[in-house]
Symmetry: C2
Subunit: 219 residues, 2 copies
DNA sequence: TAGATTGTTAATCGATTAACAATC
DNA sequence: TAGATTGTTAATCGATTAACAATC
């Protein structure tokens, strides 16, 4: 199914979007789509779609197009949405609590199985089916549940230390919401996804300013 | 200060990261840095840093490097962190409430001045200094406060409609957390930043799977 | 079969990196 | 002045788009 060459990051970043759009299209009752039609919806080029898909195999049929459900399934398999990666969330502040209850982890091939916070006050708080635990229990929890993913919703001051500890406990992936770029070059094969909401908002503001400038120039 | 050519998206996306790192470096009491030193910390090339900065002007001094505080200030000005864009948040679910209280909007040149939710039950709920308002009050609120930014934390089914309405009420920018790619091609000069947490998690899972595959091959 | 659309190769475009002259 | 490091041009690399032969 998959070819040998390394798939570029740009392609990987687009896969979830394909997956989402195909879900939408499927739910509209459409069973077949051409790269041209899909491209139009997604506002990309048909060439790009065909190139991207062919990193993983030929999922289409010449003269026909792509079977929507089948293609979605294939992309889902590539992304691993049918997986069951145990995840632990560290930091039950506002954002942490929201991420604990707001996201349907199963949909993305994950399972949230523990929430921790350094504040004693939050210990015992219910978050859906889970209960916030004190950091003192983290080691034994990791030994028992073997989380692959850690979701970090902690202040940037704590990020580096918590991260090192979790990596030592066998965590292989970090979904990092702390305002800090974690990087563990000393530990191999750890994958890190830094989500910087502040960066995202600043980039939006930059574009607002540019757009406003353009408006002014017009007048 | 700024040159004429359009700055590429790649560069813009990197600016907030420079801004963050320079903040860190400044708080360490370091007043001067060379592109080489900064590059080392940020794990990018010195060339890239110099290229990026020179999209906006020459902020360094040959033979010396960059003044940390000054460069940070300059990048902040480019990003518009000293601005005061009024923002409205729609959808006071878990994620919406977290974004309302968790983020320091002033730090990014914004000011959150209203929170709305379609559920009557949430109306009146206190979120820091703000109170959740019912959607019926949105129009008059927008006419009074003229929000430039809308933060969307609503289900994907509602996204398109709410978005159209807000655009008609003069909103110029959307920070979109709904699981839906909004696009308003009929309305010009609207800027959109889609934040797809699910996409981010899926991309992370893809990389976990690849890393696991590699591990297995080793054995 | 004829028409459509893929999979894939080739051409183009843009972004990154390297090199170096300018200059502090 | 000599050394360091920028700003900027040139070279390289990678990603996107276009084109088309393969084929359903």
């Amino acid at each position: 199914m998959s070819k040998n060459e390394k798939v570029s990051n740009s392609v990987i970043r687009r896969l979830p979007r394909y997956y989402r759009f195909l879900g939408e299209i499927m739910s509209e009752g459409i069973s077949k789509i051409s790269s041209r039609e899909l491209a139009e919806r997604m506002k990309v080029t048909a060439s790009q779609i065909r190139q991207d898909l062919n990193c993983f195999g030929g999922f289409g049929q010449q003269g026909y197009g792509y079977n929507v459900a089948e293609l979605r399934e294939e992309i889902g398999a590539i992304l691993g949405v049918n997986g069951d990666h145990p995840a632990v969330l560290i930091g039950a502040g506002n954002l942490g609590r929201a991420l604990a209850v707001h996201l349907d982890y199963a949909k993305y091939g994950c399972r949230l199985c523990g929430v921790f916070d350094s504040s004693e006050q939050l210990s015992g708080m219910k978050l859906g089916a889970l209960t916030v635990m004190p950091m003192s229990g983290l080691t034994s929890f990791c030994e028992k549940c073997r989380p692959v993913i850690a979701i970090l919703c902690i202040p940037k001051e704590a990020a580096s230390e918590v991260c090192e500890k979790l990596a030592a406990l066998g965590v292989k992936a970090f979904w990092n919401f702390s305002h800090y770029d974690i990087s563990l070059d000393n530990i191999p094969d750890v994958v890190i996804e830094n989500v910087h909401l502040g960066d995202s908002l600043m980039a939006l503001c930059y574009r607002i300013n540019q757009s406003e400038k353009k408006e002014e120039e017009k007048q």
